[in-house]
Structure formats: C-alpha cells, structure tokens
Amino acid sequence: MALGMVAMAVLPFVANDYLVGTGLTLLMWLALTQSWCVLSKMTGYVSLGHVVFYGLGAYLMVVSWQQLPFMLVVFGAGVIAAAFAALVGLPVLRVRGPYFVILTFGLAELVKFIIMAAESASGTASRILFGTPDLVVIYFCMFALALLATSLLTWVSRSRFGHGLRSLRENEEAAETLGVPVVRFKLIAFVLSAAIPGMVGAVMALRSTYFVVGGVFDPMISITVIAMAILGGGDSAKGPVLGVVFLFVLQELLWANAPLLYMIILGAILITFVLLLPNGLVGLADTRARWRAQRAAAGAKP
C-alpha cells in the first residue's frame, strides 16, 4: 500500500492530464469509501445516504464561489457536513437495522429535493464555476483527503474507540451494559464519517465546474461506495483499497461504452458478494491464508 501511495504522489509529474484526472477520480472514491467505512463497517449501521455530505460540500463550494478563498471553503464544507451529521445524528441513529439504511437514503433524497426546490425557486437550473484552480492543485487536495480518510479509518480501526464501535456492532445492548457509551460513540462515528465527504464534494465541484443538484446528490454515488466497501470487505483500511481499485477499473472500462451494462454488473456484484462473500475480497484472502496455514501445519506433523 505504501508503494501505491508513492505512485499516486508522483503521478501528476509523470503522466498526462487524462491519467491525472483518472487518478483523481480513484482517490475520490477511496476517500469516500474509507470515510463511509468509519461509520458503517465499524458500527454495522449501513448508511445508504453517504452522498448527502458530498452534495452539501459541493453546494457550499458553488454558492460561495469567488466570495471566499477556495481552501477555506473546502475546510468549511467539512465543518458544515460534520455539523449536519451532528444535528440529525441523534434521532437518525435511534433507528436500527434496515430502517436505518432506508432512512439514510430517504434523508439524502429529502435534502436533494429541498435544495432542488430552493434552486428552482430562485430560478437557477445549474451553475458554472469560472476560474477554478489547476488540475494538479485539485489532484493534490484530493490526495491529501484520501490520505486523511485512510489514516482516519486506520486510527479508528486500531483505537479503543474502534474497539467500542465493533462491540456495539456485534450486540448493542450487551455493549451498553458493559459500559460502552453507545450513543456517544455512534454519534462520533457518524460525525467523523461526514467531514471528509463534505470536503471531497467541495473539491470535486472545482474539478467539474458544472453543478447540477441531481448530479451531486446522485444516489448512485452512495450505492457505488457501498459496493466498493462490500467488495473489499473487512473493517480496516485494506478492504476499501481493493474494492475501490477493482470497481474503478470496471467502471473505467465500461462507463463510456456501456453504462447500463456497468450498472447491471454492479447489481450482480452486490448480490454475489452479499450472498456468497460477505467478507469481501479481504475475507477471501484471509480464508485462503488460513487454509494454507492449516495445510502447512498438517503437513508438518509426522
């Protein structure tokens, strides 16, 4: 993974614009998926509304364009997204299991339609940003965010906080009786997972310069993140990397020529992995490693 980091760091200096753009998108998905895992993989509360933070960040960037320095807006987007999560977190996290899944989905759609209504009431159909920073600058912003997301997930995964999250994932009532501050931990995980997508959304608004509400609140973004995380498996930072790379390659191959086919394959991947490989590629690798270790141990006996 360290090798990958170095490769991504030097990419803008050795590759052309198209490849840099592709690398940028890869880093974006990595940042989004890692941050999603901080909540959903660690606590088991699967969020289907991750895109709401992304969209809020993008919207903030677009409405404050050329009124504030863009780096400030990027940070602000993270803060605003986290604040939104803190605001809705308490009632939203009371809901459990599959209802949480559809609630987060509904919440993202609700925010989308509210902003759509607001935009159409003010007469704006779409917005365009002029004078955005250079691609390389945007690339390094995204690189920093991907790095931040991976570090966050790694830290959470290894900390006592993460341990507490895992315990509430396995059995929330039991964790509570053992003294884990379940409500507080869930809320913290939720807020932490919201900040980075907000910043990612703001940066991507700079990249695409053309903003349409439906595009930045597209539920397919949430679904793709989930697919990448499930594909990768596990609850550490390794899984999402595998899942992101795999799905990203698939996406790049099919998106331009057969987008519908890509969606069908995505759906099929979701079904296959949920049914057969709930621990994703990481789980698959772990099982094979254990298998090999077992065979080695059996072979070592006389």
Partner: protein, 300 residues
C-alpha cells in the same frame, strides 16, 4: 386555489382515493413479504414497473385491454416471485448470520442489487424513454367531479384486490397460517404451519400484487424503466406508517398517504411533491420507528 375550495373539492378527493388505492396495493405486497420473511423488498417498485411494461406491450402489440391482461400479468408476477424465492432467497435464509439485524441489512442490499439490475436491464431492452397509452379515457361526470374511466377502473380493481386479500387473511385457513407466521414465526413452526409454503405464497402474492399495481398504473400515467422507484418509497412510507407486517393498518395508511400527497401538492405546488413524499418518509421513520398504528410486538 383558496384553501377551503381545495379541501372540499370532490375532484381532489377522487384523485386521492385513486392514488391511495394503488399505493395500498403496492404496500400490500411489500407488507406480506416483510411480515413473513422480515425482508424489505427494495425492488418492489421495479416489479410495478415491469407489470406496467407488460400491460403496455400487451396493449400496443396485441391490442389486449389492460383489464384483461391484468390477471395474466399478476400471475406472471406471482410466478416470478415463486421462482425467486426458491432460487435465491431460500439460500440467503439458510446462510443467515446469527444477528437478525445484519441479515435484514444484507437482504436489503441484495434486493437493491436486484433493483439496479431490473431497472437497467429494462432500460437496455425497452429504451429509457417514457411510455404511455390511451385506454378508457372517456370522462364520466358525477356532480362537478370529472372522472376518467381508467381511473375508476383502477380504483375498483385495486380496491377489490385489497378487500379480497384482507378477506383471505381474515377468513381462510391459509390466510390464518400466513397471519400466524407474520405474528410469531417460531411459534408457527411449532403448531405445524408449513412455513416454507407460507413464505413462497406470500412472495408470490406480493410480487403478483405489485405487477397488478403496475398494470393499473400504466393506464394512468406515463412511465419509464426508472419510474418504479417512487412506488417503492411510497410503499415503504405506507408500511412504516401502518406498522410493519400489519396489513390492515397499511391499507388505512395508504389512503392517508394518497390524501397527503394529493392535497399537499394542491395546497403548495407540484415541485414540492418529492419533498413532501420524502419528508413524510423521513418523518415517519424518525417519529415512529415502530409504526404509527403498530401493534406491540416483542419481536423488534
């Protein structure tokens, strides 16, 4: 329109009834599948969409009236449900992890994958364009309410089906078996109910009623491969408001939703229809994690 005029308009009442009855039919299937198997079928609306396309092709190519095609399409939907149950979902239940909540989240993702496949396969096969056709659209007038024939037909068919299913659940032995599985699955096993049969028949009934709702919907509005999704959301609102697994309360909640949507849009604006729908959805889940008219049940 002045508020009082809106509230007493017979026209809007009729529209609310029609919308509500179609929602009731959609929610019925969703409720049965959830009640017996604790699975939230996110692909339900896409079955509605498939039913709509089936009726469309039957009418456009063979000239078959949707009212005649309806029972056939419903049976096809039921068959699909049966096949999916035997092929896919029995497997999922067999490998279920110990935690019921996790299995439910997993099954939701499964249905989501199915939904994506259905929508995009339909878009590939039928093109993503909107489709519609004219049928039974002579206008009948009662007082100052203008009703088109197709809306009256939709209301009657949806209403009759819902009442029929309610009678089935209330009066027949098979219906009683289904209710027992909905209420307490393990106990149903103990008293000798063939739970597997109840499950596939609820799947079949659920998918069949979704397909039927699709046929009705195809008469009323234009549709595309992606128009199933709002029906899924509406179905969810209804079953959450009525309490998951509670079929009768679901019927009431569906009419309520039809009223909220129709009168809400009339009082505000058509732009806000989605805001209203999702607002109700989020509100319902946040305020009533156990359903508005829910019966108390020890199983969460």
């Amino acid at each position: 329109m002045p508020v009082l005029d809106v509230l007493t308009s017979g026209q809007l009442l009729f529209a609310a009834l029609v919308t509500g009855s179609v929602y009731a039919l959609v929610a019925l299937g969703l409720n049965l599948v959830y009640g017996t198997m604790r699975m939230l079928n996110v692909a339900h609306g896409d079955l509605v969409m498939l039913g709509a396309y089936a009726a469309y092709w039957a009418f456009s190519i063979a000239g078959i009236s949707p009212l005649v095609a309806a029972p056939v399409v419903a049976c096809l939907g039921a068959l699909l449900g049966y096949a999916l149950y035997k092929g896919l979902f029995r497997h999922l239940l067999a490998v279920a992890p110990a935690d019921a909540g996790r299995m439910e989240s997993n099954s939701l993702l499964l249905f989501f994958g199915l939904s994506i496949i259905l929508q995009n396969a339909a878009a590939m096969l039928f093109t993503p364009n909107n489709r519609a056709y004219q049928y039974l659209d002579e206008v009948w007038r009662v007082g100052n309410v203008a009703m088109t024939g197709n809306r009256i037909a939709a209301l009657l068919v949806a209403g009759a089906t819902c009442i029929g299913v309610a009678l089935f659940l209330g009066r027949s032995t098979a219906g009683l078996a289904m209710r027992s599985v909905i209420e307490r699955r393990e106990a149903a096993y103990i008293v000798g109910v063939d739970v597997d049969r109840v499950q596939w028949s609820s799947f079949a009934l659920g998918f069949g009623s979704a397909a039927l709702a699709g046929v009705l919907m195809s008469m009323l509005e234009q549709f595309s491969p992606f128009s199933g999704f709002p029906f899924t959301i509406a179905g969810f609102i209804v079953i959450i408001l009525g309490g998951l697994g509670n079929v009768m309360a679901g019927l009431v909640a569906a009419l309520l939703l039809g009223v909220i949507e129709t009168y809400g849009v009339a009082l505000t604006s058509a732009n806000l229809r989605s805001v209203l729908l999702y607002g109700c959805f989020v509100g319902a889940l946040l305020l009533f994690p156990n359903g508005l008219l829910a019966r108390r049940s020890t199983r969460s």
